[in-house]
Symmetry: C2
Subunit: 172 residues, 2 copies
């Protein structure tokens, strides 16, 4: 689908195609539809970033809380969104040894207690060991800075989902 086709979509079809580029937040795609016509998919991506940045702090926290735990119950029970399922599998989250799994669960529980949202990371850009290192390192971060860092990961995930759905080309 190219940008002309995207621009021609009704908001219903637009949300069907792009509703999960930000995990479980179809509101985001539904909101940016207002900005049509987009000159390019990169411009559309920029509008998504702008919209996320325009949310009040509680709204940014809300976006983060719509993300699942890494290697959590939902991965094991297969109830993640299709996108999250594929990304977490690719990052090796479904193949962790029992001790790694319990270490990750412990770190994530600590992280959630501290920040009030789950650890969000663009899993496809990291392997399990790197995810674990990052998570451990972030536990000492300051809340506002961590929210912005996590929102940066949401944007990275969104970019890869746009590429995956053949909307955004892979950079040369």
């Amino acid at each position: 689908m190219d940008i002309a086709q995207l621009n021609s979509l009704s908001y219903e079809d637009f949300v069907d195609v792009l509703g999960n580029v930000v995990e479980r937040c179809p509101l985001v795609a539904a909101a940016v539809w207002s900005g049509r016509p987009f000159a390019s998919v990169s411009e559309l991506e920029g509008r998504i970033h702008q919209f996320l940045d325009s949310l009040p702090e509680s709204g940014k926290d809300g976006v983060l809380r719509c993300h699942p735990d890494l290697a959590g119950r939902e991965l094991r029970s297969g109830t993640l969104t299709a996108e999250s399922q594929a990304e977490q599998r690719q990052a090796g989250m479904a193949a962790l040894a029992a001790d790694e799994l319990s270490r990750l669960a412990r770190l994530n529980a600590q992280y959630k207690r501290r920040f009030g949202f789950p650890f969000v990371v663009c899993a496809r850009l990291h392997d399990a060991a790197a995810v674990m290192r990052l998570l451990a390192a972030r536990l000492g971060a300051e809340r506002a800075a961590e929210r912005e860092r996590a929102l940066g990961e949401v944007k990275r995930i969104c970019g890869l989902r746009l590429i995956k759905s053949h909307l955004l080309p892979v950079c040369p």
Copy 2:
């Protein structure tokens, strides 16, 4: 569930319970969780209203676009959210005669072309004839005023969903 129990929920459980009080926008419940502890469910409801009001215009449009058409395809195919399905049935949307159905579809299409979001009304407070009259009357409204009016309906729907889930008591 009383307010003390609600206040004690993790954000995951909070979103499980309240994720659809605003149609297909779990982000809203996830965002207001930041405001705990709430003194009452009415205070929680007020926070939801505040959050909706704090969204940029495109975000308000986004919330409206997450609502289904009245008596649309999804009602017939049974793919509405459980809440919308029950509300539309109760308002008689599943029992419209063919000519009423096509009149409603025509009016709603006109409305969507004009405003860029669907006609949102607290269906449970109206019967089908009243819905049709309201919709016809709104077609001439001004866009910004109509957005706010529609957001008022979102809040009314939210209130009834809170009552339905036994969170908000029915007023005497």
